[in-house]
Amino acid sequence: MTGAPERAAQWERRIQVRLVRGEAAALGELYDRHARSVYAIAARLVGEDKAAREIVTEVFAHLWQHPQTYDPARHRLGTWLAMDTRERVAERAKGDGPGPVAPRQAPTEPEFTEPRAERIAADRALGALSTRVRAVLQLVHTGHRDYRRAASELGISEEETLRCLRAGLRSVAGAGGIGAEDR
């Protein structure tokens, strides 16, 4: 039996081969599967649409130009792209002057979108979390604080803040049907 994670891993190996081969259609499929989360990370970290678009372009252009730099045996593609996105944001922030990472401002007026089915389950899971876990998650996720600032604003320790973030995301993952897999 091949489960969803195995199929996803297969897809990642295959898409890499196709990218190496220089298949433009594979680039489209790659974008369709991963652009949403790459853009979301970029938009959240740089807080500005134009810069976020540029980052997204850089991330995909890099993988298209150097598909061998991604090793499907080591990383899930989504994780690898997330790392690459953050690095590019950090590099850009360095070039722009002070501040370790670009200012974590809220992006302007996100458009309202209908929730996905898993997202509804995730909402329910959020509702079931303790008030503290929810407060930490909200401050970091929608309030765009890093965990240290969230800790000091909430008057709890950094360790406790980290514990809340991890526990909160684990419940959401569980409710959304995302299991941890061994590779």
Binding site: A25, D32, V56, G78, E111, A150, R166, G179
Partner: protein, 379 residues
């Protein structure tokens, strides 16, 4: 910080913040470095990162509509593809991607939201009630005709008689789904999106490898009509967009037109077909209102069609025979349409009498043109 103090346990602690991009840059780097060597943390990192995708609202930003074309364009200019997507397949590639992004956001209930499909038949509006899932089944059933012509398996594999009529194929697929009698590889309600998506990818990929070699193979389109593959795929792009708007309307979601380049291609292909459609309608005696009698030896007339918008254009269309002269000297009237309204008219989604944004001169000729445009629609 050295490796000893920054160990596995510490990374585990940080993973939640890491997934939310809420660590310091140094910590992010350290986690990233640790992940390359630790399967356990990598598995959890993947899991937590996927969970972040489920949180909203801020992570749930809609992708900017033009970004796909922008990113792919930028990529292809830095490294030329060995195998490109042929130009005639690009609007289909873009429109299926847009529709799929819309489908990704649908909840279970929304898949069964009612949709009324509309088109023009026998000079009148025809309708057929279905659901969001039914609309996707319709797209798949007709896309399957193109796939079949390329020698790919037909996902809809309907009617044993192998009909090439889009409507019959659609009804047959709907019936199979309703009765649960769909064959091997055919979709049921749960797998509809995946089957449709994979099928579209396979079509695009096959065209990419075949390139120009298949652009002109004939695709049977029902009623004895044959379209060269490149036009058939543009038709599929057009239909994918139009039916995506049906789905978007049903679930009350905004949906924008195709990017200007693609919209321009779709519009000009439709306009190029108009002279022969006008002629065929005349031959079939289909003219409502009726055509004026043309005296033998009378000068052939033309009509100016102006489509407004970034993807529009300006054309003189021969009214009395597809090869007749057309230009300012024999122009008897002028019709102005907005670019999106032209498409909605051609899709039977807008009534001819409501379509024109402006009109001058011979009103009979103008009506004839508007009806010819809307006669292109079908289920």
């Amino acid at each position: 910080m050295n490796d000893d103090s920054f160990d596995h346990t510490r990374v585990q602690q940080l993973l939640g913040a890491w997934a939310l991009s809420a660590c310091s840059p140094e910590e992010h780097k350290q986690v990233d470095a640790h992940l390359t060597g630790c399967a356990e943390c990598t598995a959890e990192a993947d899991q937590l990162r996927s969970a972040v995708d489920l949180l909203h609202p801020h992570m749930d930003l809609d992708l900017p509509p033009g970004l796909r074309a922008e990113v792919i364009g930028a990529c292809l200019s830095t490294r030329r593809p060995e195998v490109s997507v042929p130009e005639y397949a690009q609007p289909y590639d873009a429109e299926t991607a847009r529709l799929d992004a819309l489908l990704a956001d649908l909840t279970g209930d929304e898949w069964s939201a009612p949709v009324q499909l509309k088109w023009m038949q026998d000079e009148d509006t025809a309708t057929r009630d279905t659901t969001v899932a039914g609309v996707l089944g319709h797209l798949l059933a007709v896309d399957g005709m193109v796939a079949k012509s390329l020698g790919l398996p037909d996902p809809a594999a309907p009617a044993e008689d192998g009909t090439t009529d889009p409507r019959e194929r659609t009804e047959a697929l709907w019936q199979q789904i309703a009765q649960g009698t769909a064959g091997e590889g055919a979709p049921d309600l749960d797998s509809m999106r995946e089957v449709w998506r994979d099928h579209a990818y396979e079509l695009i990929r096959t065209c990419s490898f075949a390139g120009g070699g298949v652009a002109d193979i004939a695709v049977p389109y029902g009623d004895g009509v044959m379209l060269p593959l490149r036009l058939a795929l543009l038709d599929r792009a057009f239909e994918t967009w139009i039916h995506a708007t049906d789905i978007a309307d049903a679930v009350d979601y905004p949906y924008t037109p195709p990017v200007p380049d693609h919209l321009r291609t779709l519009i000009s292909v439709a306009v190029q077909m108009l002279p022969s459609i006008l002629a065929a309608r005349r031959q079939a005696g289909l003219a409502s209102p009726p055509l004026p009698l043309i005296e033998p030896g009378a000068e052939a007339r033309s009509l100016r069609l102006r489509i407004e918008g970034e993807s529009g254009g300006d054309w003189y269309l021969p009214l009395d025979g597809p090869d007749g002269p057309a230009g300012p000297e024999n122009c008897v009237g002028h019709v102005v349409l907005d670019e999106v309204d032209f498409c909605r008219l051609a899709a039977g989604h807008l009534a001819p009498r409501h379509a024109a944004a402006g009109q001058e001169g011979d009103s009979t000729a103008a009506a004839e043109l508007l009806y010819a445009i809307t006669s292109m629609s079908r289920l």
